[in-house]
Amino acid sequence: MAEPILEVCGLVKHYPLTRGVLFKKQVGSVKAVDGVDFTLAAGETLGIVGESGCGKSTVARLLCNLERPTAGEIRYRGEDITKLSGRALKAVRRNIQMVFQDPYTSLNPRMTVGDIIGEPYEIHPEAAPKGDRRRRVQELLDVVGLNPEYVNRYPHQFSGGQRQRIGIARGLALRPEIIVADEPVSALDVSVQAQVINLMERLQREFELSYVFIAHDLSIVRHISDRVGVMYLGRIVETGTDEQIYEYATHPYTQALLSAVPVPDPEAREHRRRIILTGDVPSPTNIPSGCRFRTRCFKARERCALEVPALEVPPVFRCTPGPAAHDSACLFASTEPV
């Protein structure tokens, strides 16, 4: 694997729950992200999947320094960026940009498209000389497949897919190395999703970008990702290449998730084995002891309540090299669901 451009170590984000008006006292905490580790290689796409509330969006905000982690490190080219501030932080931001989920709220309705895409240059004047900015903005519009003449239009004159392209153009303006995309296509119509996915793949090749691609749609994540991490309740429970995750999943949560995805093939519905999980995701304020998935797990035994499974290659696969030998945080990991 190429040299990692981003390393995340023991990332934790807890939001305190407080009571009281002036004199607040902490009554608990929402453990949105509770110990996440991963690396991202240059030019790679890491997909992060998980259900709502699993903390994947918090991870995105932490990576972009929109929030400070409670603990842990995010190392960009070896340097921990979580404690930076001022000039140094601003410099790092140039290299890590974000694409947002909602194309309707991610663009300021009072600014023209030209102002929106040109704003990065106003904030970082060193990135482009003043006289050159308009040309660059038009170039960016062209790159994302929009007519460069539309610089004077307002966001509400564009459709969702076009707005998402504008958001991508803004993210590209500073020529970042990493783009964190938080559900970039889930708000779009099916026929437009493919257009945006294709655009993102083309830009990755053209600009040598590394993506952290966060989504709940497993088939899209599989299509675009080189490696995939599955999150559950603030932790990554399984990670591996797309083939390892989708064909040789060893964590029961991943298996359940994959089996629950509706397959667009009516022939498959009779002979498909589906694992229907019982119950709901526990509250992140009150995480179960031991393995956090045990309350919904069809394999759970007593040991699961006592031991926290580590995210590593499970012992059973350690000596048998093969696609099943990848990191999985399960004490009873197996490629067979039952």
Binding site: L89, F100, H156
Partner: protein, 339 residues
């Protein structure tokens, strides 16, 4: 709620376009224009797509230009704007239509009815009601405009800071506004203004600002918090934008509409408040000229000389109504959901 189907349905996809909610409609409209090219699509690079020529929405539109387009067609707005322009004009130059001196009175003519050259008749002191009513506009408009400006600036700055920074700032400010909300306006005015001896509009303006800013700060705080949650603010932050830049460029323009609306409506009520305080004898005092003073002075003679009461009261009512209608029209125009 006897049956679930009668529950308000979630937004129907077609009806979003159908009810013509600003954004949805414009978007749908522009979809038909050839904005988008699918780069490197199945048909090769740059195949343009579209259904004919550019749509009618080719020129740039913003919330403000949309609002202005709405307002220009709104008769309520046009009428109230006309009244307000006229009021401002006579507040600046009352002698344009009433060349007389409002303080020149003739007790012999006290309570007399209209006569040529004095269309509104005379009040209890024998002063010309027409001249006094016209000249009274100045006090009302000054109080209304100055108090609103003060309230808007103080309230929105404090509210915006509290909403933006949150935390302790916010808690402290919220408690202070609660305290101010608990003060009854008229009673507070009676107590505070009775100790003031100055006979200008400024103590009244100051008093209104003091009691009025919490209302605006609450509105400003709320709309800043709403605007702050939008992703474009996060996007600016991710780009490295400073707090000042985020506040001025991204939050303020998106949060200012409700403040403007509430301020316009409040302006009318401040004018009424000035009249109330003057009526009670703690606002402006004679020899100042104000509708409130005139209403107060005329009320004992309401049976004998109703005209002395009706004209200033009517002027006051029309002024307050004009500002409230203006505020209403502006609110409707600035609310894209009503379109």
């Amino acid at each position: 709620m006897p049956e679930p189907p009668q529950e308000p349905p979630h937004e129907p996809e077609g009806a979003v376009a159908g009810t013509g909610m600003g954004g949805g409609m414009d978007l749908a409209a522009s979809e038909a224009t050839a904005l988008e090219r699918t780069p490197h699509g199945p048909d090769g690079p740059g195949g343009t797509v579209g259904t004919g020529g550019p749509g009618p929405q080719d020129r740039p539109r913003s919330l403000w230009s949309d609002a202005w387009r709405d307002l220009r067609r709104n008769p309520v707005f046009l009428l109230s704007a006309l009244v307000i322009c006229f009021l401002i004009l006579i507040a600046i130059r009352p002698s344009l239509i009433a060349p007389g001196n409002p303080l020149q009175c003739d007790l012999a003519r006290a309570q007399d009815g209209p006569r040529p050259g004095h269309p509104f008749g005379y009040d209890g002191q024998g002063c010309d009601v027409y001249t006094r009513t016209v000249h009274g506009a100045r006090a009302s408009v000054t109080v209304g405009v100055c108090a609103t400006l003060g309230v808007a600036v103080l309230g929105s700055v404090l509210g915006a800071l509290a909403g933006f920074f949150g935390g302790v700032w916010d808690s402290v400010l919220s408690r202070i506004t609660d305290i101010f909300f608990a003060i009854p306006v008229v009673l507070g005015g009676l107590v505070l203004l009775s100790v003031v001896t100055s006979n200008t509009v400024w103590p009244v303006v100051g008093f209104i600002v003091l009691l009025g800013w919490p209302q605006l700060s609450r509105i400003a705080r709320g709309s800043v918090i709403t605007a702050k949650q939008h992703d474009y603010v996060q996007a600016a932050r991710a780009l490295g934008a400073s707090n000042t830049r985020i506040l001025l460029r991204h939050i303020a323009p998106n949060a200012v509409a409700p403040v403007i609306v509430v301020a316009t409506i409040a302006l009318g009520t401040y004018i009424a408040l000035e009249a109330t305080l003057s009526y009670l004898g703690v606002g402006l005092k004679p020899p100042s000229v104000s509708w409130g003073i005139d209403i107060s002075a005329a009320s004992p003679y309401i049976r004998n000389a109703p005209h002395a009461l009706l004209w200033p009261a009517g002027a006051l009512a029309i002024t307050v109504l004009a500002f409230i209608m203006l505020g209403d029209a502006v609110r409707d125009a600035l609310d894209p959901k009503l379109r």
